[in-house]
């Protein structure tokens, strides 16, 4: 990732995690699978480009890692 984006991405990732605290009473990483799905869908379908791109970024990375591991 370009170096000028790294700090912003860290802040965004932390914000995403704490967004769960605001909306569901617990950080994203401690939510149940269903609530995580809800938060992901909310960001993925957000009217803000940034939120959609943020989820797409992590989703793509996750899929690339998991699918390649499965293929091995």
């Amino acid at each position: 990732m370009p170096d000028f984006l790294r700090l912003a991405m860290r802040v965004a990732t932390r914000s995403f995690d704490y967004w769960g605290l605001v909306t569901c009473g617990s950080r994203f990483q401690k939510l149940s699978g269903d609530l995580r799905r809800l938060q992901l869908d909310a960001w993925k379908n957000s009217r803000f480009d940034f939120c959609r791109n943020f989820v797409r970024f992590y989703e793509s990375l996750y899929l690339l890692i998991v699918m390649e591991e499965d293929a091995e």
Partner: protein, 482 residues
Amino acid sequence: MRITQPESFLRSEIVVIGSGPGGAVTAATLAGAGRQVLLVEEGADLPQDSCKPFTLDEMRQKYRAGGITAAFGKPSVAYAEGSCVGGGSEVNSGIYHRAPPEILDTWARDYKVDFFSPALLESHFAACEQVMHPAGYPASLPRASQILREGAAKRGMKSLDVPRLVDFGPDLDEQGVPYSQRRSMSATFVPMFLNNGGNLLAATRVEKLARHRDGWEIHARHAGMRSLLIRTDKVFVCAGAVHTPALLQRSGISQNVGKTLSLQPMVKLTAEFAEPVNFPGMGVAGEQVSEFSPEFSFGCAISSRAHLAINLADETDGVALAVNRHRHLVSYYVMSRGSLNGSVRALPGFNDPLVRYGVTQRERENLGKGIKALTRVLLAAGAMRVFTGLSDNRVIESLRQTDKLDNTLPAGFSNIMTVHLMSSCPMGEDQRKAAVNSWGRVHGHAGLYVSDVSTLCTSPGVNPQGTIMALAHRNSEHFLKV
């Protein structure tokens, strides 16, 4: 010779910065003429088989910033660049085109490029092709290619197996199609360069260029730590469409530098078939429908299970489909010609520049028309359904449904990517528009040249590697003559 532990001060008659198609051809041509050349590359010097093509490992090892780079705009366009010895040629699919003659004529006319025409470039294309051996499949085509060809024929379009820069091996896949290996710069021009006595210094980032008497001083950093000073008479900057203008800007050179970035925006579609169509090791087939070129074209894309899952991630149960039915799925791309609607700006205090691009209405129309045409081709070839990625009409199952597809990509569509960036330092004698002259010398700066994709005046509408190499060969031969 490969320099692995450089002294803190180096001297070379000529320094070439960047070892992609522009830099490798330049370095090999100059070294072949007996000149003392140091080729400096920011990325690592890796064997071709250090990782499997189109995998996460390849992104980690050979892509700039791990492949996570974007041109910001509405929408942003994700892009990928190689960063290793061989540059982009180590990570692309090697599809080979010459720029269309009418585009070359436009460059000569609109930018006042001297001694520049399709006929004058012929010998330079031929010289590079003699080394690169662009070739189609020797026997049967992969299934993904056959599908495109069958569907295109039924829709009255012509589809071609575009030559690729690969070596076909003796081993065959399940379909009887030979496996291939990239014929990249690290397999061709870089070994030629080394055999001709050139010196290669990898893992070295050039921070800045500065005038020193009649020559240039290059301030660099090796392996992220040691500072290096390189003195030279002549410098060729060949760091690609993003990092060439960024380096020039960091060095205080800004006339028409980084103000006109172009890229060729691309979207992907995935088709599902009743029978298996996706075979292990299929890679990227070279089949393309290019009768709408240079405005837009479409062809085969990488269809590994991971890439299919990413392409289908927005669909209901798309990831499960990619997991359970990946043998029945295959991805294709639609690529539009780009405009000069982007920019590159070096940011003080950061290594990476800010890249911006605005997808234009014409590009949206090209992509919209391309999606419609490709969907019809795939359905004609027997696809059960086509996943378009559009928010309306996500899944198309019949030709009748394709009538609903808009001729313009909707404004909200954000899943656009590219692997072709260019035109950030255009060539020509028209100094209102061009950053470098007709032979790549930076206007107003003796002994400083650019010889890479940056100098293409506009988007050629096709894969640019062949044109970059021919231009680099032309500029190097001219340099040797004067």
